[in-house]
Amino acid sequence: MTLIRKIALGSIVPAVLLAIWWAMSLQSSVVPSIGSVVEVLMNPSVAPADLDTTSITAGAQISILRVVLGFGLAGITGIVAGFLIGLSRTSREIFAPAMSVAMAISPIAWLPVSIIVFGLATPASVLFGDEAWRYNTLDQLSFAVVAVIWYGAFFPVALNTAAGVRGVRRAHMETVRVLGAGRMQMLTKVILPASMPAIFTGLRLGGGIAWRVIVAAEIFPGTRSGLGYMISASHEIGEYRYAFAAIIVIGAIGLVLDGGFRLLAWRVGHWQAKER
């Protein structure tokens, strides 16, 4: 009963939005019909003939790979940095003010700077030089874009990790100290597990930001693949059904990403729900 209720209530807003969309598509030639967008979505692996871009699946694959790379780096460096500033007061005093400023700047604002710094370099161009074009996928992961994703995800991960590390209760530390734990064991037995929920909150936030940033970065001139690029390419020729299809896919992937992190966060932090 509650499930039926949940589904029924949750469907109201999407249904209203679909109705508005349908009504608007009748009035305007710019707004694509629902049917044409569904058609694009039903054939996700077919590259649009009228558009200089890859298929939806290929675009999603590239966007996901960019995020995996940038977000992966942000996760690793963010957790390490978070432990550093969480454990050491001096490093906190050195880095925290700068980080607060840096976090207030949209990662997209750095894209032009990032393009100047990294140019057109990709993992393929670094590894294979002139032969880079043979490795198409690797050659799409331009460092300039990956760096911007890293920037978006790094701060939430680092700051949440730091907060988690600082929030470890003294009583818990002392429990293991009395049982004879050394510094390393304090880290593995207490600090790490105790800050896990905060780390995963940071990863979930960072992942969400990374996914939003990638789409924005791909719309920026210079990138020629990915879901964001599909939106801008579709805008250029005035065929908005591809843009609408890409937006729906972006939302779906974002939803799955967030759900996955929620699940992981629950697994490492279920003890915390009833702790306080």
Partner: protein
């Protein structure tokens, strides 16, 4: 016999021990001052005193969690300068780690010492049995247990590490009367089995008289009296002898003056 021989020896001694805290508000706060105390081997020593009188600080000095500002704390003949293997601590809240299962918590000392998984399991199961916790709870998490069960699990942890000296900081605080009484009785039973040296902190006079061979009355920052309790276990808190001791301790506690600032 063996127990009789060691009974005369003191395992844990405070020699003019003092601990000063420097807080911005009170730069010269002595939580414990010039306190001397012997905890005889194989006996239960209870410390009673009003809250804030320095009981917990005293225990932390013995556990090696804090260093004495003056004097020293001597454990088995050596000055305490940090946590040591032979000392088990049960803190006020029990100190169970919320992200570990009961079994992992009970065997925490063993896993820190690098003992094998099989060994940890076996000894945790035995310790849980000794504190009358059913084997099913070993996979539960602390937040899934009742207050009494959590205290039992914390007790199982110190039993598991087989420490000959146990420091207990109001381990049964905040429990209902019935559960508290049961745990007191069982603690005495466990103590009769391996005769560890116990330093037990409580603010309950009745609890002190139920458990202790010797009750130490603390005023603010220092010891005001020591009373030997020469009653056989199991004790009845309402027996005339017991009530007599309780009244005597109450009188001593009432004599200790509260400092001006409080």
């Amino acid at each position: 016999m063996e127990t009789h021989q060691t009974a005369t020896k003191s395992v844990l001694q405070f020699r003019d021990a003092g601990k000063r805290f420097c807080t911005p508000a009170r730069p010269d706060l002595w939580a414990v001052r010039d306190l001397s105390l012997d905890c005889p081997a194989g006996k239960i020593t209870c410390i009673v005193g009003p809250s804030g009188c320095g009981k917990t600080t005293l225990l932390r000095l013995a556990a090696g969690l804090d260093d004495a500002t003056t004097g020293q704390v001597v454990l088995n003949g050596a000055t305490v300068s940090g946590p040591s293997q032979g000392v088990g601590l049960v803190s006020q809240e029990g100190g169970l780690l919320p992200w570990m299962s009961v079994e992992q918590n009970v065997a925490l000392g063993l896993s820190i010492a690098g003992r094998s998984r099989a060994d940890r399991r076996a000894r945790a199961a035995r310790a849980l049995g000794r504190v009358h916790l059913p084997p099913e709870v070993s996979k539960s998490f602390p937040h899934e247990l009742s207050g009494g069960m959590r205290r039992r699990a914390a007790l199982a942890r110190v039993l598991c590490s087989e420490a000959p000296v146990l420091l207990m900081d109001e381990p049964f605080g905040g429990l209902d009367e019935h559960t508290r009484r049961k745990l007191q009785t069982q603690l005495v039973e466990l103590w009769t089995e391996d005769r560890p040296t116990i330093l037990f902190i409580t603010h309950s006079i009745e609890e002190a008289v139920m458990l202790a061979d010797r009750v130490v009355v603390m005023g603010f920052a220092t010891k005001t009296a020591e009373i030997e309790i020469d009653l056989t276990h199991p004790r009845d808190p309402l027996s005339p002898d017991s009530l007599d001791c309780q009244l005597k301790i109450r009188e001593l506690l009432q004599q200790t003056r509260q400092p001006q600032s409080l």
